[in-house]
């Protein structure tokens, strides 16, 4: 879990697009035993946290309730998504696309 988080966080330092941040998060979700699904197809196994940051279709992480993967995602994802959000904000600011 620690290695996955570390690898993802390092990856976020080098993103050049929002889509890369989404890909890094999706890869971390998979390494932790979950998967991702377009929000339009989501069921109750999905966690209501969008990994797309507003670029393209919303994507949600999925894991079976009460599974190890679910517990790992619940531990790791809140902080990791915040870090990704920060990275995306910095990127957008550097590109001056937020206005």
């Amino acid at each position: 879990m620690l290695q996955t988080t570390h690898q993802a966080t390092r990856g976020l330092l080098y993103i050049t697009s929002t889509r890369e941040a989404t890909e890094i998060l999706a890869a971390a979700v998979q390494r932790l035993g979950g998967s991702t699904i377009p929000a339009g197809q989501a069921d109750s196994w999905a966690l209501p946290i969008d990994l797309s940051f507003g670029e393209g279709e919303p994507i949600l992480p999925v894991a079976e309730p009460l599974s190890l993967a679910r517990m790992q995602l619940e531990q790791v994802l809140p902080g990791l998504v915040e870090d990704a959000r920060r990275a995306v904000q910095l990127l957008r600011r550097s590109e001056d696309v937020d206005g």
């Binding site: 940051f53 919303p58 949600l60 994802l77 998504v81 904000q89 600011r93």
Partner: protein, 346 residues
């Protein structure tokens, strides 16, 4: 310079940008208002907050899909991020940690509160969605926070909010709670033992300011769980849902024709009914179940083509399997009467 007021037309224009998934237009509008002199808190509450309320209404009315709702929320979140860069506040009032209750994944309201507090001069760390209570406890102890703000939007996570409140208080740090799950007054906050409640981020900033003059006695409010019924209900919830499904097959013949996905949704809905029931029992506040959840559920289901009477039938099925839970039975009975009235009138 006179500060521009946020108007209904501004909100409508912003929601239009969300509907078009036009992040640049939404950000441009908000930043334009900021440059014209609108205070950050006015933009956060009056523009972004109001727009998100409309997003929720459109989902509820089945005008927008889940995907539309997530896309709109992501744009509002990006606009909030763009506004946040422009907050120039000294951040010298003290370190406040803002977090979502354990289990609560709706993080935008907490993020909005965090930025409003920062604009008021607090140094803010936002921990993100669904922070495990133990993580919160360790973090606030490490950083020496002067206060913790716990946000909860959906009442089924008030049990998680209770754990978050207790985690921070165990380190001697006062806790302010807020968010839609806490309802229109401080009843639920009081029952969960929080040291303060605020109806909106600006009120939260004021309350935290008052704590600088007079620090509250941490955790002195009683965490008032009347009995163990909500916990017992939670422990057997999956069994109760299955038993209620059996009852529902007897009471609602169309269920026999449901496909796998529809049956899964029905199970989910029965589970949600029980979770809201647990929240009402936990806080001893029946409004959660009777005045907020049931009317909302009725609106959501009817907007998706189901008859209003389906809520009554669902409550009857649950009532038939809750013999061992007297307070739950009582609330279900009250809910059935209200839902039946709505089905007749609606």
């Amino acid at each position: 310079m006179q500060q521009p007021r946020i108007t209904a037309a501004d909100v409508e224009r912003f929601v239009d940008a969300l509907a078009r998934r036009d992040r640049k237009a939404a950000a441009g509008q908000a930043l334009g208002l900021l440059e014209a002199g609108a205070p950050v808190q006015e933009l956060v509450q009056g523009l972004l907050g109001a727009a998100q309320a409309e997003v929720g209404r459109r989902w509820e009315a089945n005008q927008w899909s889940v995907a539309d709702e997530h896309a709109a929320t992501a744009i509002t979140d990006a606009v909030l991020g763009a506004l946040a860069w422009r907050i120039k506040a000294p951040e010298d009032l003290g370190h406040v940690v803002v977090t979502c209750a354990e289990g609560e994944w709706h993080s935008l309201p907490a993020r909005m509160a965090a930025e409003v507090l920062r604009a008021h001069g607090w140094q803010v760390t936002f921990l993100g969605a669904s922070t495990p209570a133990d993580h919160l406890r360790r973090f606030v102890a490490e950083v020496g926070a002067v206060a913790v703000v716990v946000s909860c939007s959906v009442p089924i996570f008030l049990g998680g909010a209770l754990r978050s409140v207790q985690a921070a208080q165990s380190e001697g740090i006062p806790v302010l709670v807020g968010g839609r799950a806490f309802g229109p007054d401080d009843t639920r906050a009081h029952r969960l033992g929080a040291d303060g409640w605020a109806p909106d981020p600006v009120a939260a900033a004021r309350l935290l300011e008052s704590w600088r003059q007079q620090r509250p006695a941490v955790g002195k409010r009683p965490a008032g769980m009347r009995d163990a019924e909500p916990l017992e209900l939670e422990a057997v919830r999956p069994d109760l849902v299955e038993a209620a499904m059996g009852e529902l097959f007897l009471r609602f013949p169309p269920l026999a024709g449901y496909g796998k996905a529809q049956l899964a949704r029905t199970r989910e809905d029965l589970g949600y009914i029980l979770q809201f029931l647990e929240a009402a029992l936990l806080t001893d506040d029946p409004r959660i179940f009777l005045d907020e959840f049931l009317p909302w559920l009725t609106r959501v289901l009817t907007s998706r083509g189901l008859p209003a009477g389906v809520v009554t039938v669902g409550l009857e099925a649950l009532g038939a399997v809750l013999d061992a839970f007297p307070r739950s039975q009582q609330l279900i009975a009250q809910g059935r009467r209200l839902a039946a009235g709505r089905a007749v009138n609606g």
